[in-house]
Each structure stands twice: as structure tokens, then as C-alpha cells.
Symmetry: C2
Subunit: 246 residues, 2 copies
Amino acid sequence: MTVTSYVRCSNCAVSKFCLPHTLSNDDIGQLEGVVQQKRVLHAGETLYHTGDHFEGLFAISSGSFKSVVIATNGDSQITEFSFPGEILGFDAYHGKTHNSFAEALETSSVCFLPQAQLDNLSQKVPALQQQLYNLFSAEIQSNNEFLLMMGKRSAEDRLAALLINISSRYSQRGYSATHFRLSMSRTDIANYLGLTIETVSRLIRRFQKESLIEVAQRDITIIDLVGLSELAGTHCSYDQKVASAE
Amino acid sequence: MTVTSYVRCSNCAVSKFCLPHTLSNDDIGQLEGVVQQKRVLHAGETLYHTGDHFEGLFAISSGSFKSVVIATNGDSQITEFSFPGEILGFDAYHGKTHNSFAEALETSSVCFLPQAQLDNLSQKVPALQQQLYNLFSAEIQSNNEFLLMMGKRSAEDRLAALLINISSRYSQRGYSATHFRLSMSRTDIANYLGLTIETVSRLIRRFQKESLIEVAQRDITIIDLVGLSELAGTHCSYDQKVASAE
DNA sequence: CGCCATCTTGATGCTATTCAAAAAATGTGG
DNA sequence: CCACATTTTTTGAATAGCATCAAGATGGCG
């Protein structure tokens, strides 16, 4: 765990997807006084555990994470994958206990926003308060969309939707929409989609046979973005999460 | 639609499950100045529609609601059932657009909390601000729990979990935990659980055969609360939504 | 190079869906 | 209040989709 004392949102590559997005330069300056540290985690390391008391929010500056809830019987469910600019920790905001844990999928870095100071600042900076509320409701909305998928769509639709989702999030961040490397394992994908690893493997194969994608391990090349989007169905909703956070 | 000008949280039967829960008498007095009207809806009437601009939160004072998201292809998914004391509208908090609609399942009444005034007051009353944050993260947590169920549990487990959930929410409100009338149709139950109506019907029948419950249309009597809870598995989590909102 | 974890592939079975129809409950007008 | 129409719920039979079980292949890594 590496700690860097100074964080400059204004220089950060992902600031336009992150908390500062809607803030004035002045406000960003104030926010920089709150963002305390930059922490580096390697694949498999956790940012917080289930049951941990909430201390503050984490903004992902690089890498990716999975958020996981665990049932009393030991079952686990990945509730979301998170990418640079996105915020982790809302499930326990303000004096609550995390009911999920967040684990790095690859080497990743995060900024820490201690609750007390964030609260303090958001009371003084309405745009920040607003932005926090926006992120909260965006989280609830994206959760609603996901529930729709889990309740109503087939295995095929779900995998297509995930690929389109990841593609659009990468592309928003300036990376290729059609070629990327998955940071999560097949097991993670299966868990997230409520499927088995075998089903995911077979579906990937099928997509490849149907010339929708090209696959080499975790390297994905989307060949037929339109075809895949049609399978996904709800493809437009994916842009909402980030777009709506403005 | 009936409108009553004055709302007194202090007299309200469900205030201890609602926003005022953690507030001092003084703070409740201030909140009463914000709660503008009491609106009555009949079964099938909607509180807000998908796409409506957010105007404020609704606190349910009696009856029950379903919240529904709609896919571009017309599919719909009920994301939650809501009971007296619970708050509707968080999906669009602060200048966003509802991505779901809320529909009364029976004759119900709600209090309206206009955004501007709620904001204003929550800036002055830290306990209210805190309570709002708590409700937000409780919503996210309960969503996480629900995802776990949708992703990992069988049809049988899901129905048992729903019955236990409803039972515990009724019992918290002073009603019987073992005998109640479902306000939602079989179709709603099936939609919520990501199943078909036929499957739900068959499961209800099976539960009856196994002497877990007694059913007469929408009247449910839980005979073996322990057995049903064991099927539900995650039964303890149901208390969290309300309990954690303190 | 060889071990271990991850991923793929095949055969089989079960769960829940789909299609179809009847039964029960609810609503409606005379 | 009853006969009829409509909606909701139940039940049955057949099917499909995904899971489970069981090997086997591949790639990463010491």
C-alpha cells in the first residue's frame, strides 16, 4: 500500500468522470484539500471488507474493482464492476457498515475522501452536495437497470449487455470501444450475471462463432458492435450511469 | 386525489419508521413545516411516471406501492414493494428524472416533501441530513441483498424470502407476522421475483401442501414461520432495511 | 519444465418456462 | 341480486434453457 500525500484533481486524467466533474476550478481547489491520499492496490486486495465501518468514499483513479455481497450461507454476488472515475462506498454512507466488500481486479489506485471532511465541504459547496446526491441516485438507477436484466433477460442477453457496457465505459474514457482486455475472470463474469462459468464460456464461444466478437483469453475484440448491442437490448442505458452524473 | 393542508408527523402512526424516526421533537416540528400535503391514491394510480422530473420525495403514510422500471423493449421489472413509513423517489433525487414509476397497490396515502424545502431544512438540521443519507445507503444495501437473491437463489427460496420479508415488515408495523393480506397480485409477485405467474402459483400450492402456509386468495397465514425462514435463507437481512435507517 | 489455476467442452438432468385450457374470483348491467 | 363478461389464478403436459457433473485443454508462473 503506497501513500502519496498530494492529490491534484485538476491534473487527473479521469476528473471529468469523477466527483470534480461538475465543479468550478475554485471548488475543485477546495476538494483537493479533502482528497487525502492515493492508495495502490494489487489484484485481489480489498479496499474495505463486509462489516467495516464507513470511513469515507473512494474514487478510483486507475484500474478496476468488483463489489461483492455475501449471504449468510456463504453465497456471494458481485453487484458491480467499477472503473476509473467511479466512486466506491456509497452502500455505507454516513456512519453505516459496509454490506459489501470491494476488491481490486488488477493493479489499481484510489483516492480517499474522508467522510468528516467531505461532509464539511459539501455543506459549504452546494455543487459538491448536488454531485453527491447525483451519484447516489445514479447508483440506484443503475441498480434498477441491472435488476431488470437479472429478472427478465436470457443468459445470452446478459453477457452481450455486459460486453456492451464495458465497451462503452472504456470508450468514454478514451479507450477503444471495440478492443479491450477484461480485468475480471470468467468466474467473476458468471457470478455477476447470475450464471455458471460453463454457461459464460459457451456463450463466449457462440458469440465468436457468430462473428460478434473475437476472443483471445481476456482480450476481447468486438466485431459486430451493432449486433451485440441488439442482443444487449438495453444498450442505451449504459451511458446513463456516467452521463447522468453531471 | 384529496389534499389535506396540514400534516403532523408527531401524530402519525408510522413516524417511527419514517423520516422523523431519528429526529428530536424540535426537528420534527420543523419537518412538519416542510411536509406539504397528504395525497390519497387508489389502486392502480401512479405517484410519478418514468421520465417525470424529480420534484420531491414521498413518504407513504398508508397502503402500499410497487416501483417499476421499463426496458426499451417494453419489459418491466418491479424493483421494490413499499409500505407505510418508507420513502419513494430516491432514484431521481435532486434534479434528475425518474427511471421508474410508482403505482399504488391499494388505496394509499402519501406525504409530499418538496425538494427545495427539504434541502433547505436538511442543511440546517444535521440529523435530517444524516437520516437522508441513511435512507439512501439503506436503499443501496437492500438493493444489493435483492441482487444476491436474484442471482443465486431458486424460485422456491425467492418466494419464501418475499413472504418472510412482507411478514416482518407488517410485524414491525404492529400487524400480525403470521396473517396478512397481500396487496399485490400474483403477476406482481412473479414479476418482482423474476419468475412466471404459473411458477408462483405452483410454489404457493407447494408451500400449502408442505404446511408452511395457508392461502385463501390474497390472504396468507404463515403456519411454519421457522421452516419458511429457513427456505428464505437471508431472512435476517429483511429487518435491516428498516432497522438500519436509524 | 511441470504444477496449479483458469478456462473449455461434452453428456446428462433438473428447474422453470411455455403453451393450453379450465376454474375461480371479480366486476357489470339489468 | 343474479346472469354474464372479464380478469386472475390454478393446473397439466411438453419443452427449453441453464446447471451440474466430469474430463480435458490451456496458459501463467515458480
